[in-house]
């Protein structure tokens, strides 16, 4: 019983320390500030790629660290990324049908 309890407790110890989460939040805030700066500063041809890249970095940082996917069981990642991948595939195909990318 004690072994079962210990292994149960161990599952709660994955992840990061509070200081680590605060660091992640500060990085996310800095990226958001950089995103907003694109509204005021002309980034030229880098405007769109940089915004999309920053969006993806923020997305995966929240999912990996705040939602613990990086540390948790891989089955949870599979459940989420299957849904995400399916959504991207279906809607990119739908947008392409409507000639959105042309």
């Amino acid at each position: 019983m004690s072994t079962a309890t210990e292994s149960h407790e161990d599952t709660h110890e994955h992840g990061m320390s509070d200081a680590g989460y605060i660091k992640i939040a500060l990085i996310l805030a800095a990226i958001t500030a950089l995103e907003v700066s694109t509204y005021y500063v002309d980034f030229g041809p880098l405007f769109l790629p940089s915004l999309i890249a920053m969006m993806f970095v923020k997305f995966f940082m929240v999912v990996s660290y705040f939602m613990h996917l990086k540390f948790d069981n891989k089955l949870f990642s599979l459940m989420f990324y299957i849904g995400l991948g399916l959504a991207i595939f279906v809607y990119v195909a739908a947008l392409a049908t409507f000639k959105f990318f042309m």
């Binding site: 939040a25 969006m55 997305f59 929240v62």
Partner: protein, 203 residues
């Protein structure tokens, strides 16, 4: 041997875990969030298709208040930090601090929803009704659906605070907080996409 395996499976089931050791509730939440990707994917794609179809109504660039929405985005982003701190507090069984961080998260979420209501009111006064154009319909549907999700999240957070305070939680309290947290963070990541694609990238 078979008896041991049955006992182990029964023990796992008692704790809401499958025989693989994975929490059924957590797995269900991840499955739900995977399906939510399809819902928001449809709404975002529809907006992307129709954002240039403004008819006689105002254009997105004419009405969007980027500084205001940036502050709202920052508020929602920081609510993800308070949420994750609530989860770590619950894992340490420090429930008074868990309740505090859950309340902070709920307040930040309510602030975001308040900002969205203010924004919608301002847009409506500037002539952007729901049926003004395809742009307005798809914009209000997308951001409205997200706002409803945030509102549901705030209700979930306040309910969790109430349940923890009255000590009515059944099963693993830390896991209950973590599952509410997963939903909350998902609402945040959806806004990360909406903020970039809808507000920052011009039509």
């Amino acid at each position: 041997m078979a008896e041991t395996a049955t006992h182990s499976a029964d023990h796992a089931a008692d704790h809401g875990h499958s025989s693989t050791g994975i929490s059924n509730n957590k797995l269900a939440m991840w499955l739900f969030l995977g399906s939510e990707c399809l819902l928001f994917g449809g709404l975002i794609s529809t907006y992307m298709l129709y954002r240039g179809r403004v008819s006689d109504g105002p254009h997105p660039e004419q009405i969007f208040d980027i500084p205001f929405t940036s502050v709202s985005s920052f508020v929602l982003l920081m609510s993800s930090l308070s949420m994750v701190l609530a989860v770590t507090s619950a894992q340490r069984k420090d429930y008074s601090r868990t309740n505090l961080w859950l309340l902070v998260t709920a307040i930040l979420g309510a602030t975001f929803v308040g900002g969205q209501i203010y924004e919608f009111t301002a847009f409506y006064r500037e002539g952007l009704g729901f049926s003004t154009s395809l742009f307005s319909s798809s914009f209000y549907t997308l951001t409205g659906f997200h706002g409803v999700h945030v509102t549901v999240g705030v209700i979930m957070l306040l309910s969790t605070v109430g349940i923890l305070k009255k000590n009515r939680a059944t099963g693993d309290k830390a896991e209950s907080v973590e599952i509410v947290g997963l939903y909350w963070h998902f609402v945040d990541v959806v806004w990360i996409i909406i903020f970039t694609l809808v507000y920052l990238i011009p039509a």
